[in-house]
Symmetry: C2
């Protein structure tokens, strides 16, 4: 299985490409914005595709050609300018979805925010709400397609070492979760077709990633 990782140079993305390259029968194509980001991925033996997510759909579709799945884990993050929130977290995500369709890739894994429902937008702080709204509309766009999607809603992301153990569910209380463990959840999701058409929250916990993903 070849996987296009959009946002490969991000903190989840780097863990993800690393894990994919370690997996038998899986390989990654890292979509990156700058040539100088390539060496990290080349050292892992991964392919790279140089595309700016603010470009049009076609170059993204070209990067997606011949892969079996697309993972969207790009993000401006909640603390960048709000112009990037709409251009990357919403428009970049939608263009990636459309690119997957164009390239004939059916499987799509979206890394979303912990809660992107209407209520979460309304209850978010004024500075966080635009990010939640952007992720909401990206998720809605994906759910309205015929793609074989899974939407992963991580809790408060940390750079702590992963434990390989998480808690997965719906309507969880928000808790911390290492980015490294989210990357493991993504790999496990790609390996488990029962996750297709589903969305779930992930926080730190004490169930193995494999078992937790199976339980969705």
């Amino acid at each position: 299985m070849k996987v296009l990782v959009v946002g490969a140079n991000g903190q989840i993305g780097k863990h993800l490409v690393t894990f994919i390259q370690e997996k038998e029968g899986m390989e990654a194509r890292a979509m990156i914005r700058k040539e100088e980001q390539a060496s990290f991925f080349k050292e892992l033996g991964a392919e790279t595709a140089l595309v700016d997510l603010e470009d049009d759909i076609d170059p993204i579709a070209k990067a997606a050609e011949g892969v079996d799945a697309v993972v969207f884990t790009a993000g401006s993050g909640p603390h960048t300018g709000k112009d990037k929130t709409i251009m990357i977290d919403l428009d970049g995500a939608v263009k990636t979805i459309e690119a997957a369709k164009k390239a004939g890739v059916k499987r799509f894994v979206m890394i979303s925010s912990f809660d992107t429902r209407r209520k979460a937008i309304q209850e978010a702080t004024e500075s966080f709400a635009p990010y939640v709204a952007a992720k909401h509309y990206a998720d809605e766009w994906l759910k309205d397609t015929d793609l074989e999607y899974t939407i992963i809603h991580p809790g408060m992301l940390t750079n702590d070492d992963g434990t390989g153990q998480v808690k997965i569910g719906q309507d969880l209380d928000i808790e911390k979760v290492p980015r490294e463990d989210i990357a493991r959840v993504i790999v496990s999701t790609l390996e488990n077709d029962a996750t297709i058409g589903k969305e779930f929250q992930v926080v730190g916990g004490n169930q193995s990633v494999t078992d937790a993903v199976k339980s969705t």
Copy 2:
């Protein structure tokens, strides 16, 4: 015909409520954010509804109860903070659309931006692109509903006195158009059911508003 004007206190909105109140058989309900904005509309004999567009769908739906049409002409404008672009131009618009559905109002007129197609997002300047993207997604959301919509794409808005004459079409060159004339186009659109399911651009021109709207 009773019309809920969302964004009534805006520059187009004030002209629009004025024209609606002057029309035989038409009356406006002005949706406004602050109580002190009410006097302008009360003097015109229009109803008012006090709702913040950043609130949830329910209060907007309540404001839409019993009207025959909703006009969305609220806008953060292209030069406010990009947080407001997503919260008002996109999320405010979508909540208004959902509110119309909830209140059982079928007719919906959206005041969009001159060109909200994918190409326009890609070709916009970095500072303008988030606004175009927000309007793009609001328009897409509306077109995906069963509402009887019309999407109006005005050219460069000015505060010049209206002339009552415009040019309407698809793929026009962008030119100036007074906000007052856009308000006239909205009234004419509400009076003309042949505009349902259509979208068109409006710039300054030399055809009467009534004839131009008929030609869509």
